[in-house]
Symmetry: D2
Subunit: 350 residues, 4 copies
Amino acid sequence: MSKSYKIAVLGASGYTGSELVRLLLRHSGLEIAALSADSKAGKPMAEVFPQFAGVDLPELKKIDAIDLAEIDGVFCALPHGTTQEVISQTLAKKPNLKIVDLSADFRLADLDAYAEWYGHPHKAPELQAEAVYGLVEIHREKIRTARLVANPGCYTTTAELPVIALLQAGAIDPEEIVIDAKTGMTGAGRAAKEGMLFSEVSEGIHAYGVGKHRHMAELDQEFSEAAGKPVRPSFTPHLAPMNRGIYATTYVRGTGGTDAERMHGILADRYADEPFVTVLPFGQVPQSRHVRGSNMVQIGVVADRRPGRAIVISTLDNLVKGASGQAVQNMNLVLGLPETMGLEQVALFP
Amino acid sequence: MSKSYKIAVLGASGYTGSELVRLLLRHSGLEIAALSADSKAGKPMAEVFPQFAGVDLPELKKIDAIDLAEIDGVFCALPHGTTQEVISQTLAKKPNLKIVDLSADFRLADLDAYAEWYGHPHKAPELQAEAVYGLVEIHREKIRTARLVANPGCYTTTAELPVIALLQAGAIDPEEIVIDAKTGMTGAGRAAKEGMLFSEVSEGIHAYGVGKHRHMAELDQEFSEAAGKPVRPSFTPHLAPMNRGIYATTYVRGTGGTDAERMHGILADRYADEPFVTVLPFGQVPQSRHVRGSNMVQIGVVADRRPGRAIVISTLDNLVKGASGQAVQNMNLVLGLPETMGLEQVALFP
Amino acid sequence: MSKSYKIAVLGASGYTGSELVRLLLRHSGLEIAALSADSKAGKPMAEVFPQFAGVDLPELKKIDAIDLAEIDGVFCALPHGTTQEVISQTLAKKPNLKIVDLSADFRLADLDAYAEWYGHPHKAPELQAEAVYGLVEIHREKIRTARLVANPGCYTTTAELPVIALLQAGAIDPEEIVIDAKTGMTGAGRAAKEGMLFSEVSEGIHAYGVGKHRHMAELDQEFSEAAGKPVRPSFTPHLAPMNRGIYATTYVRGTGGTDAERMHGILADRYADEPFVTVLPFGQVPQSRHVRGSNMVQIGVVADRRPGRAIVISTLDNLVKGASGQAVQNMNLVLGLPETMGLEQVALFP
Amino acid sequence: MSKSYKIAVLGASGYTGSELVRLLLRHSGLEIAALSADSKAGKPMAEVFPQFAGVDLPELKKIDAIDLAEIDGVFCALPHGTTQEVISQTLAKKPNLKIVDLSADFRLADLDAYAEWYGHPHKAPELQAEAVYGLVEIHREKIRTARLVANPGCYTTTAELPVIALLQAGAIDPEEIVIDAKTGMTGAGRAAKEGMLFSEVSEGIHAYGVGKHRHMAELDQEFSEAAGKPVRPSFTPHLAPMNRGIYATTYVRGTGGTDAERMHGILADRYADEPFVTVLPFGQVPQSRHVRGSNMVQIGVVADRRPGRAIVISTLDNLVKGASGQAVQNMNLVLGLPETMGLEQVALFP
């Protein structure tokens, strides 16, 4: 079977880029037609990521060298900052492209919020107006018809899936949401920094960005929409000595007598038919390693011993459902392919 | 200089036992006179823990084979359950011994609470009455004159040091304490279980004992005493893929206008002269790896963006300040030695 | 498309069992019809391996409870020792089954060698006579017509692929082969033993089984066949703190003026058309992480500075090409399916 | 007790620098008087290495700002290349200093060998002439009277201790030495490079510098001196996913009927009285984790099944006996202090 659509991956030399390539190689509807990596243009992908040795892939090139005429969909896995301009220029050249952007550049609908959190005005406000926030299980129908999808952050996807469902059901107090999140190292990308060295990360754990992580802006936006009023959760990210995985432990308080078991019921119902969300039996706790490499989210709900409170735990692989996997899911939607195509892979454990 | 006191370590074949030996070997006031390990009696310590190859140590023997006549102090590092009987019998034989018990057997002053959390009646209630909870920085004076010190749990020491100080100062709401804690694997000991295998622990993180971990009983006891009324915090332990370290991220709400910076001031003042507690500058976050192998606690306080709330982070090495190091600190106190003796070691990082 | 053949996995509660399930779930020609796990019979697979939560799989049952009538092929992932009897009985019940055995029970053609290395006589000598050693790239044609395939060991596959090719070419001295191999923890399985605990394995490396590892018997058999005379290499396995991966560094001496570059040419030619073997450019060194989760072998050849000698490095994932992946490759062959079916997955890195 | 000698550490912001500080803080004869770190001059040490928070240490300053008048001994932990000039200038200012240099700049007595391996002429040939190679157990007496000690490399110390002893005894064939070595990440220092990121190092193993690692030059020098003729061993370093530890598996062939057990005897005799070398019982294999954080070397000897050959395994902590610990041992010697002073610490395991 010849694959249906031709795809370009911009920023293929980063981890989300290589993860897109991994997933697309087993996707029967999307074909990798072009790979860009400005600083490594001219090199074979296998030189940058040796796991692709022996795999037939296009050479890395500069973005401008990509012939858009043959491209149907673009994954944009570029660093924050340049993305708004690159996407503007790309859509100017070929307006009927479908683009899934993995950066944070189009996630915030409120231009003022963007400017506040990112320290500069938005460079493509007209595109922002049409961009759709690509949290599939929440915004699926809007995504189907989008031209530009802003793929959500890894932390935010993890926390939003359970919490939005509970907020929409009016089951929890929006003033009392505490999200204690843990991530692996790949979420920080491949740029060499002292704090990311093996010797600085292994055999220890620590919080970072406490009180000021940019993913808060996404949480605020989506939680507020779900609650119908402004919500500002507490959110603390931690770095654990592992490659992959986000693990969010969320402390919530039920409203109107809603207890933990009822919350579990709400989530189990809400996600019963979702192919990539598993709500574990009440009281059971997920482990991040059991979703490693897959597009799955596992959610557990446990009663807190403080009456009326619950501990909601959600986990996913930050490079898959937290980035490249959800991006493929979004691309499947905008191109009209089956949503699960290319994402059927079970977790690699152990 | 000949060392002042002769010491027996009961349960030297576990990790807290070997850690006691490590610390005692560089202690100038305590001398290892006897090591017990029932199932490994007759073996040299270096066969059970090869890091002691070449070190002059007494052979492992059964507890009954220890000649108490020559012993001044006993560290009891036995599993929960047998400890109450062993200590009763030991003190019956030699009433003027000093004992620091690393198990949970004498930590709960309330016999009913003990029975509830441990599922059976206390086997040495009269000894419980005299046991002192060995959280040194909080109960130092009572410890000095104790015969039997119940060394606190690793999680509890980590969370209690900052939270008790804040509760005693009336600075935080006792109803709104959420402790999200992360530990390394050594806290679970050396008994072989499937869930503790390398392949089951590496490259992932997960919560466990959610809503029911026994260290809650200690937190309740100490927090309630500090607050002057019953306190039941939310507490969720997680297992991170590392050997050592407890990392507690505690979410609190100030009372009467107390903000995060004020909380930081309270902690900085309270622990200014403590040799084993470092309160970092306001807004700075500790890392568990920076206390690895040392008896230090590092505490950081950061403002939550929700007004009036703070995130208090504390970390220590579960085998040192969370177990064997604090046990040595307690033994120093009860024997009248300088409190820091044998505990001067800086963290091993990286 | 309905899948062609129905498959039973015996021993699905171990790591090679769960890995078979992972691979078979994306195999378009093999369907999982039955899963056995004696001690966990009656449980859903997702209870034993939570990564399968939400996946439709048959319940675990006892071997005897499997209806062989509906089965075409059997993967036997049982521990050494019981396998010979189980396979004898199974084939007695249904002689036209195809069986790929992942244990060591049928790998040694010489019954005396078996008795010597395993300490007891072979229990199914007549079956041994028909068993084919399933190192696909070396014995492909014999495997196609086999009923019982003995899937090779993980260490042996890693070392044999380069060394057999060099021996068959007469390029290296059979008397001077030193194999220094490193493995991850999953090779030891899931049975709980002290030496496999996270705290005993992380943050360190060590050799084991030095001078007496059973995989030597396989190496001897295959190397001797390739060389046309008895060969007994030196082989030292090490345990590295990682889940997956075998990494064999093999020191060889060229014969008749064969230098390292010539050896590289021999290997590059020999494996040019093999879908699962990549010979890297001369002088380039593979990394075990770049084959993680895939069925790939990467081989590198570097000149030693001692004239005429070379360092040949080969690596694979012990659970895939070193076990379950090669088992699927063998099953594809014996059932007449395309050899690469279900094994197209690229490595999961990072 | 006031400490006897005042010490400067040049290059305190690297891992060997911080390790020196860790060791010196518990050294009763050496006092830290000055710490240099050019790029971090003016900062407190605790800002660069948070494990020193709360410890009283001099501020980091530029080398030129150190008042040499008060200094008795200098540890030079600077990167290769600048060291020759820095030490020349320092000794010009104060000729009666004692210097232990942890870089590779003064390890090769042969200036041509230096130029060949390091790609440029030696910048302080006259100092090279007086420098003593600081492998204590081999060159102790020469070190005692040295002014400038070249602290050996981590790989080289590990391999040289057993192999030199065997060569000196004429027990092994110098033509047939194969050293397969594994190291942890800290050996590469703290400078940020892509290949040293957690995500690139964890969960995998690989060889590097194959056939051309600079430590070969040291091995050649010391092995040749021991054998009395030119020796060029095969040496292959690997990077294992751990912080600390060198593990050398050395394959040797006995001469004149010397078997493995005899080699063991030679090593056991040779190192019987050495405080930092433990030769394990014949056939027993060390683990790198059992020397972590200590100045110990553990050596094991196992018979190869190839007659007349043995596998000699040695391990140490690359930051301690492989760098800063051995440097302290050398400084103790040149200053006339007890050799073991400040190095009594047992390994931190687990």
